[in-house]
């Protein structure tokens, strides 16, 4: 008999009593119905203590904000997905921006370059979670997974209108149970570790900095 069948048979032919199935009461996880303003404030108060940097921008202004932030950091090359937005807005902008590198071919063809020569990655988000200060990332062919992971700076665009109270609210509203992408992520700050004597250090494997541009 295969290991699979042996394991399943052991589990099915359990010797003990009927196992309890107590009711799952999720009310303990519910949060109040926050207004958009409340959600923004909560998002900020959850993300800033873990070194996420948040900037409120109006409409297309986010490019101006981005331009300032990147030039302060002397970013010379920024990775962007191949999707229509935000690429079109960046290209249409007259702001001073670093070189835009479009992620449009398989990583195998340019891995060294990605790991060694890219200073920042810009991604969209599929919303945010106020309670925990998290971004929902939903990588696609147009916005591949490594954009938010390998470059030392990750810049994420978040629409204020897509801020949810809790993870459960987001999952329900976006019907995650109907189908998940190959990889989905919650990102709540820059990469960090406390493995050396509980001392926090940022940028251990992923980005050292996370910059969130909240677009209203």
């Amino acid at each position: 008999m295969s290991a699979r069948d042996t394991i399943l048979q052991r589990l099915r032919n359990r010797t003990g009593d009927q196992l309890p199935t107590p009711e799952r009461d999720f009310t303990a996880m519910e949060r109040p119905d926050w207004s958009t303003g409340d959600k923004l404030a909560r998002f900020r108060s959850a993300m800033e203590p873990v070194h996420g940097e948040i900037h409120n921008c109006r409409g297309g202004d986010w490019v101006a904000t981005l331009s300032g932030l990147l030039s302060d950091r002397r970013v010379s090359r920024m990775l962007v997905g191949s999707g229509a937005e935000p690429l079109a807005t960046l290209r249409a902008s007259t702001q001073e921006l670093p070189d835009i590198l479009v992620y449009d071919e398989p990583v195998e063809n340019w891995q060294q370059h990605l790991f060694n020569d890219v200073d920042a990655g810009l991604t969209t988000t599929r919303g945010g979670i106020a309670e925990t200060g998290s971004l929902i990332l939903w990588p696609t062919a147009e916005e591949p997974r490594l954009t938010s992971l390998v470059p030392p700076i990750h810049v994420a665009l978040l629409k204020a209108s897509e801020l949810f109270g809790t993870l459960r609210e987001a999952m329900a509203a976006q019907q995650w149970s109907h189908g998940m992408p190959t990889n989905a992520l919650l990102v709540s700050g820059p990469s960090k570790t406390a493995d050396i004597e509980q001392t926090l250090a940022y940028g251990v494997h992923g980005p050292r900095e996370l910059i969130v541009l909240v677009v209203e």
Binding site: I7, V107, A141, L149
Partner: protein, 477 residues
């Protein structure tokens, strides 16, 4: 590297000498005390404003429901994962799981493996097995990496290198990787980042654990802060996830409840930096991510624990480590004293099933039954009750309820059994008890000052001149 060989030769029965050595080492004592104090404080803060009791009840009910439907959920998970393009393997024990992983690596002609943190892989001694087959396995979680550099095993399931301080780590990195000595944690971390980035790029296979496997969507969830888990599961062309069969939950909603409890209980974080949900290999036009994803569902004793109405609660565990952080024994002796893959309270109730109660005979007794572990457990595992259960099994102490755990009865000694029989006789015969206690009180001047292990640290308690029984009687007359 042969660090796993070292761990294989650790004799779990030698708990006492290791515990004594740890107690006598002020550095170890200090490292654990300050780390555990910090973790306890952070957990407390993280749950402020929550109805923690209701949350723990929810956590327990989520896990109980999942376990009640475990075989169905595993089949559902397998079907969903397969539909998502993830290959599912089943392993009865650690050796079989190791063989499966090795076979996948060989089929890809893989020589270099990068690993994310996985306690199941520690349980399987996977690194050792891979080394034996000429496959280089490098840990990428910073704590695991340091422990591997030192040729040691993790001393905590969440913070593997918690037993070392910065100075010790600096020395270690200097010796093994040529990093300049420094007490600057940022510098040491950056140096590790540099070393590991190369490895991520060149690894043939990435191996990770799994925190939750969601049956309804066929999703593997990983909780982490560093990003090494994302690297491990995204950069190499092949990803193998190893997981215990008990990690499956029915729905995303169940997962969200456990996630909320896990990170707050473990490190006092509302959420970790990354919560990574993997539901398939690179698909269609996607430009990155592994071409192949495999899951190895590992039993390794779990279906045995599943049979027992009490011990099954052990399988609720979500590996947060809160029981260790709050355990006064773990805090004093540290993780290595136990000599087991899982140390601390959860290890004391889990390891006997993996290694038997003969080898693990000292584990259940190394507790004052203070109950701190059960109090903080986010899924309400009655750890103290299970410790008592295993103590009973280790001495075969209950004729009404026969022992079932492998190696039961190993701790039973004729002398101790006789002592308890004598104790029983005295206390089941009240007249004899009164006579004996009254006589002892009467002769209390002859009481010895030294009472074995008790008076090693304390003075002996002094017998009262007259017992309470006598004093109550005196008042009546």
């Amino acid at each position: 590297m042969n660090e796993q060989k070292a761990s294989d030769t650790v004799d779990v029965r030698e708990f006492h000498p290791r515990a004594r050595a740890a107690l006598a080492d002020p550095q170890i004592r200090q490292n654990f005390r300050s780390a555990m104090d910090g973790l306890m404080g952070k957990r407390r803060t993280a749950f402020e404003g929550w109805d923690l009791e209701a949350l723990r009840t929810l956590g327990a009910s989520v896990r109980q429901n999942a376990l009640a439907h475990l075989p169905d959920l595993l089949e559902q998970l397998e079907a969903r994962l397969t539909a998502n393009g993830i290959r599912v393997h089943w392993a009865l024990d650690g050796d079989e799981a190791c063989r499966i992983v090795t076979d996948i690596c060989r089929a890809r002609d893989a020589h270099s493996v990068i690993k994310g943190k996985s306690m199941v892989s520690e349980e399987m001694h996977l690194n050792h097995h891979l080394e034996q087959h000429g496959i280089d396995a490098l840990e990428s979680d910073l704590g695991e990496y340091l422990v591997q550099l030192a040729g040691e095993t993790p001393s905590h399931i969440i913070m593997p290198a918690i037993h070392k301080n910065t100075g010790e780590i600096s020395e270690l990195m200097h010796d093994r990787t040529g990093t300049e000595r420094s007490t600057d944690v940022e510098y040491l971390t950056a140096s590790a980042r540099q070393q590991l980035r190369e490895k991520f790029m060149n690894a043939d296979v990435g191996i990770s654990g799994v925190n939750f496997a969601v049956a309804e969507t066929g999703t593997l969830c990983l909780v982490e802060n560093e990003g090494n888990g994302r690297m491990t599961t995204t950069v190499p062309p092949c990803h193998i996830a190893v997981t215990g069969i008990e990690k499956v939950v029915p729905t995303l909603a169940d997962m969200s409840a456990l996630l909320a409890l896990l990170t707050r209980s473990a490190t006092g974080q509302h959420i970790t930096t990354y919560f990574n949900m993997i539901s398939g290999p690179r698909r269609g036009e996607e430009l990155d991510g592994p071409e192949e994803v495999h899951v190895v569902l590992v039993d390794n004793g779990r279906s045995g624990i599943y049979q027992d109405d009490e011990l099954i609660d052990t399988l609720r565990c979500i590996r947060c480590g809160a029981c260790m952080n709050h355990c006064p024994v773990y805090t004093r002796v540290g993780g290595h004293a136990y000599g087991t893959t899982y140390p601390g309270p959860i290890g004391k109730i889990l390891m006997p099933h993996l290694i038997g109660l003969d080898e693990g005979r000292h584990l259940p007794s190394a507790s004052s039954l203070c109950g701190a572990c059960g109090e903080v457990c986010p899924v309400k595992i009655p750890i103290p009750d299970l410790l008592v259960r295993l103590r009973r099994e280790s001495v075969d102490g209950d004729r009404l309820h026969p022992s079932v755990v492998r190696g039961h009865g190993a701790k039973r000694s004729t002398a101790e059994a006789l002592a308890w029989k004598t104790w029983q006789w005295v206390h089941a015969h009240p007249a004899a008890y009164r006579l004996g206690t009254a006589a002892a009180s009467h002769l209390r001047a002859l009481q010895p000052d030294r009472l074995g292990a008790w008076t090693q640290y304390r003075s002996a308690p002094k017998l009262a001149a007259r017992t309470l029984h006598q004093q109550v009687k005196d008042r009546r007359s």
